[in-house]
């Protein structure tokens, strides 16, 4: 069985992520140490909460450099929600803070109004389907391989990721006419804004495809 390492940095729904991975046939190791990350073959960075606090918790445990190293070697990596946002260079949540910087880009607040001027409800909470971004020809060979245009995923967020290179956007999602990155990818590094561990059978199937990368 494939072994997955989940980073525990005191934030995020660790148990749910662990259970979903186990259900999807992965053997799960939880680590809060740099060595645990260095030894990992596949790494998952979950996350719920604020960007700044998330980075501070990673730093407190001395994990930032080992995660960067892991990503540099292009080993399979999945950031979930906040974990995905932290993959970028920086965020504008509660002032500017530095991220892991493994995919160039920034994190911005969701716009307060829709295109027709009506106020958006924020956080964006709910199930949405994904669409292929213009720069991607196919999802074949990616973690979205078994996802259909009808599949939907559970989102809960107030900020969204904006990669510098649109080629890093694998899938998009719409919120009241506003398009944003739902899945980002660079080689074996993936990030998803939604919670696959909370997205029912479609989410589990995505995790399974990550496990078999």
């Amino acid at each position: 069985m494939d072994e997955l390492t989940v980073v525990d940095y005191g934030m995020g729904n660790l148990l749910s992520v662990k259970r979903a991975l186990e259900f999807s046939c992965g053997r799960v190791v939880v680590t809060d140490s740099a060595k645990g990350i260095d030894d990992a073959s596949k790494l998952i960075l979950p996350g719920v909460g604020a960007f700044k606090e998330g980075m501070a918790e990673l730093e407190k445990r001395g994990l930032i450099e080992s995660i960067r190293r892991f990503c540099k070697e292009n080993r399979p990596f999945l950031g979930i929600c906040l974990g995905m946002q932290m993959m970028l260079d920086m965020s504008h949540e509660f002032g500017v803070s530095e991220g892991l910087g493994v995919i160039p880009g920034t994190v911005l607040p969701l716009p307060p109004c829709s295109l027709d001027g009506r106020p958006n409800k924020i956080p964006h909470i709910g199930w949405s389907s994904l669409s292929k971004s213009a720069s991607v020809a196919s999802w074949r060979g990616t973690i979205l391989e078994s996802i259909s245009p009808f599949s939907s995923f559970y989102f809960v967020h107030s900020f969204y990721a904006v990669p510098v290179n649109s080629g890093h956007i694998l899938a998009e999602c719409g919120y009241n006419g506003h398009r944003f990155a739902a899945v980002i990818r660079s080689g074996n590094l993936y990030g998803c804004q939604f919670h696959p561990e909370k997205s029912g059978p479609d989410g589990l199937s995505l995790l399974k495809d990550f496990i078999s990368l």
């Binding site: 729904n13 660790l14 148990l15 749910s16 259970r19 979903a20 259900f23 719920v48 909460g49 604020a50 307060p112 106020p119 958006n120 409800k121 924020i122 956080p123 964006h124 909470i125 709910g126 199930w127 949405s128 389907s129 259909s148 009808f150 599949s151 939907s152 559970y154 809960v156 967020h157 107030s158 919120y175 009241n176 919670h195 561990e197 909370k198 997205s199 029912g200 059978p201 479609d202 989410g203 589990l204 199937s205």
Partner: protein
């Protein structure tokens, strides 16, 4: 408008799923874990576990039920009842829940809303409001499971809750709860107009027309339902199909799109 979320609400006492009428007169129904599993398999979008008598601790507590549910229920779970401190929230989230719903403790000390939102994020801080109509276009927030009057006017309280960092409002009509007479769509509409966070309408669903009404007229973002599900009057499949026919945006489940 995004997809309307269809939420199964399970009120729990000790080891049992219960159902009340107007938040009183509790009746035992069955194993809360089995019901959550069934609703997950049927395509529920979320689960809310509420413990009206707040037996958060001890054997067979809600924490154990949630912990067990995370083995086979892979949709968001909200837990409410007896949430008083940051350490309560931490325990609930650690046991696999995604959000906490807070009523009584927030009414007694509104600052708790800010503390939870700051520590764990607004997305997990659901303000639970039990509203009872006190006049035309006027509702009062109740607490202690609909027994005690807070003296707070609901719309003002909702606004204050959002200012303090609530990310969602679970809005239960005490008058309609368990009545199967339909949601209080006026209440849902008024609160929804006053704040810019999602509103979950709760209390009163007897058939799918009620859901359609509270979404179309009340502009609810999500709908919580209990006894129509527990007593097998409707399944999520029935509800999804009917709601779609009426033009409501409802997500497809994997079972639906694979067939």
């Amino acid at each position: 408008m995004g997809n309307i979320r269809l939420i199964a609400r399970l009120d729990v006492k000790g080891a049992y799923l219960i159902k009340s009428i107007n938040l009183e007169g509790l009746r035992k129904i069955g194993d809360p874990g089995e019901y959550a599993k069934k609703y997950y398999a049927d395509g529920a979008d979320e689960i809310i576990y509420m413990d009206p008598v707040a037996s958060l601790y001890g054997r067979n507590s809600l924490l154990d039920i949630v912990e067990k549910a995370t083995r086979d229920v892979f949709i968001p779970i909200t837990v409410g009842g007896g949430v008083r401190t940051l350490s309560d929230v931490e325990k609930i989230l650690k046991s696999g829940a995604d959000k906490v719903a807070v009523n009584t403790a927030a009414i007694k000390r509104p600052e708790l809303i800010r503390e939870i939102a700051t520590r764990f994020g607004s997305q997990c801080m659901v303000l639970s409001i039990e509203a009872k109509q006190s006049g035309p276009d006027l509702w009062e927030a109740y607490y202690d499971n609909g027994r005690e009057r807070s003296g707070r006017e609901v719309i003002e309280w909702a606004r204050q809750g959002v200012a303090l960092g609530a990310g969602e409002i679970l809005l239960t009509s005490v008058d309609r709860e368990g009545s199967a007479r339909g949601f209080d769509s006026d209440l849902v509409k008024k609160v929804g107009e006053a704040v810019s966070i999602p509103i979950i309408a709760s209390g009163g669903m007897g058939h799918t027309d009620h859901l359609i009404h509270v979404v179309k007229e009340g502009k609810a973002d999500a709908v919580a339902m209990a006894h129509v599900l527990h007593y097998n009057k409707l399944t999520f499949k029935d509800i999804r199909e009917k709601a779609r026919q009426e033009g409501l945006p409802i997500r497809s489940t994997r079972n639906e799109w694979m067939n």
